[in-house]
Symmetry: C2
């Protein structure tokens, strides 16, 4: 790790182009301004911020508040550094999307470089796919006698998460949302139902919207269109050996 307080622009240049800097994460604390042009255009006047340059070309400008960077460049940019007129400049260009960002530091309080050694990958549970899989394994969560025939059925009017048949062998489509579904989920169901009826000359089809919680407005729309809904909440759990990690988490 390499860290230095109040480096001059020249000194900063030496550091960011020094040995091993290509694989290092670079952090700068200081007073800067930021210009961006690409899909949109922005300008951020002088102020103190934290700038992070990652080895994959991601560049983040963080202000004192908010989870989101105020300016950024996604991975894939190629940052270059310059010392100009007593300022330290970072330019990051994304060739793929023709997007440019320029960060100008007129004061650097702290410059840090560190190669991060990190082989771990995030283990994550509780996403929409987990809920879909739970229903596939136990279709009676939706209704007794339900059978799931297909997952991720894609058609020209979009994709539906589950396709199956109920006890009476009536076709059933199921749209699953892990969060609070909006009106668009109803549109999606409706579009698929319309498409199905036209294609299969089959008048009868049932449509379910499954989510942990469904807003009243959405429920009303569903009822109005003759669709059904089903509120299912799953406690997020890791599937297998990660259970040990889970146990650890709960205990502490």
């Amino acid at each position: 790790m390499l860290t230095e307080s109040s480096p001059s622009p020249q000194r900063a240049l030496e550091l960011v182009y020094g040995p091993g800097s290509g694989r290092a994460m670079i952090m700068l604390l200081g007073e800067c301004s930021v210009s961006y042009q690409g899909r949109a255009k922005s300008y951020l006047d002088w102020g103190e911020r934290l700038v992070i340059v990652k080895k994959d070309g991601a560049v983040l400008v963080h202000q004192a508040a908010s989870r989101e960077p105020v300016n950024w460049q996604p991975p894939g940019s190629r940052p270059i550094y310059q010392a100009l007129d007593g300022t330290f400049v970072i330019r990051a260009e994304r060739t793929k999307a023709r997007e440019y960002m320029k960060i100008e530091f007129r004061r650097i309080d702290l410059l840090t470089l560190k190669v991060l050694s990190d082989k771990a990958e995030l283990q994550l549970a509780g996403m929409e796919e987990d809920l879909v899989n739970a229903i596939v394994e136990n279709p009676s969560l939706i209704e007794d006698g339900m059978r799931i025939a297909e997952k991720e059925r894609r058609t020209e009017s979009g994709s539906v998460d589950l396709f199956g048949r109920d006890r009476a062998n009536t076709p059933v489509i199921v749209e699953v949302k892990r969060g609070s579904p909006g009106i668009s989920a109803v549109y999606q169901l409706e579009a698929y139902v319309t498409d199905f009826r036209r294609k299969n000359c089959e008048a009868k089809i049932r449509a379910f919207l499954v989510a942990p919680r469904i807003p009243l407005m959405v429920k009303n729309m569903l009822r109005e269109k003759g669709f059904e809904h089903c509120e299912i909440t799953l406690r997020p759990e890791f599937s297998d050996d990660n259970q040990s990690k889970l146990a650890e988490w709960v205990s502490t």
Copy 2:
């Protein structure tokens, strides 16, 4: 600014609870593991990362790559710090959503605190609203003779960006997207058109989807449903005195 290399957990505790720490941004570089439970559940095994704690309660865990933090807590959490068994622990709980995150450091390479002085706000141009306004000012961008009567018309079947009439006085609705629109944009148009026809007993209505670029599949769906589309790209520009900043940007 306060920065220290390889502080002990006890020393780190003194620093993060020291004077002025409440308003400071806290940055930690070191080896940590992260557990999260809330809307989902996750575990991230030991590895070297950058952790940022902001004054608004936002907590970010950044790995060596990607624009996104691997774990985080949104603004509003209240982080607490502990020194336990030779480790330094950050716990951040979001009361509102009942979400918990625990970060455990078994080695801290660098701990930095800094109060960021930053009064600037981002100036941004090129959003969807700018495209909508451009069409309002010059409706012929869509079609000759077009008149816009209403902006942001919201109904129970959703909202449509623009409402107007064409040369023949036929009602026209326009949905505007600044990015590449998905199928859901077509659903939205269709829902509105259906609603309009039912409510107004007026058979004729035209529907436009406007975007810089429209995927083929979406175009096909539009054609199939009798809707129209229009590809418009606007160069993002600041509206007024910010032009000076723009000029500066272009010149450098």
